[in-house]
């Protein structure tokens, strides 16, 4: 099952859903908001998705993972909107008869998600700056704009 949600990811319910009497292993991965990145303080991350395409793509990742490994359950949840430090922006939970598959599928799913699924994060830095994270886009030629928290139309690139 895949899900995009504006709410806190409920890990206990997620683990309940992947528990399975045929499973010997459960692997849960949480991607959490890190407060400090390269020495800069993050207030929160804001996630935006191209929802229709992201849902389609996540469902394909689940189907691919189920084809590649003997999974019993496979859940991918991505949170959208604001995600404060230490909270999860993404959760991937898989169960399988043996642990090797669960670890391999979990790693492959998060790697694939981060590489391909049309979801973007914007850093809200403690110094007031905001910037969308677009890996590979060269440093912005213009300096990042210092904006009020209330504004948010203007951004800079990494």
């Amino acid at each position: 099952m895949i899900q995009l949600t504006e709410h806190t990811i409920e890990t206990e319910r997620l683990l309940e859903r992947v528990r399975n009497r045929a499973a010997g292993a459960v692997v849960l991965f949480l991607g959490t908001t890190r407060e400090v990145t390269a020495g800069r303080q993050t207030v929160s991350l804001h996630y935006e998705a191209y929802r229709e395409m992201a849902e389609k793509h996540l469902a394909e990742l689940e189907a691919d993972a189920r084809r590649r490994w003997a999974l019993l359950e496979c859940e991918i949840i991505h949170r959208l909107g604001e995600v404060p430090p230490a909270e999860a922006s993404v959760a991937i939970a898989v169960s399988s008869p043996h642990r090797a598959e669960a670890f391999a599928a979990g790693q492959w799913l998060i790697d694939s998600l981060k590489r391909d699924v049309p979801i973007w994060k914007r850093e809200q830095w403690a110094d007031g700056n905001r910037e969308w994270v677009h890996p590979g886009l060269a440093e912005a030629p213009t300096p990042s704009c210092n904006v009020d928290e209330a504004v948010g139309e203007i951004t800079s690139e990494r």
């Binding site: 973007w120 914007r122 969308w132």
Partner: protein, 81 residues
């Protein structure tokens, strides 16, 4: 024909709008749409150079034919997870 291109993240903020509509001559490809967007919104040039395109909510190459009903989107480098 008119083609509406959905924008996200930095591209959306650079333009201050969540889509841009361009006019292309039929038959058109995603590459033709790209050229038209670059002309209509020069501010997006750098972003476009690093972006992919989606047609019908799937990644597609610039050779892919586009019709007026197509859902087209500019996909800047992703950073979910």
């Amino acid at each position: 024909m008119k083609v509406r291109v959905q924008l996200f993240a930095a591209a959306k903020e650079l333009l201050g709008q969540d889509s841009v509509t361009v006019e292309v001559r039929e038959p058109a490809t995603l590459g033709d749409v790209r050229v038209a967007v670059e002309a209509a919104a020069p501010a997006l040039a750098r972003t476009i150079a690093h972006s992919l395109w989606a047609l019908g909510a799937q990644y597609a190459t610039e050779e892919t034919p586009v019709t007026g009903e197509c859902e087209v989107a500019l996909i800047p480098p992703v950073s979910g997870g």
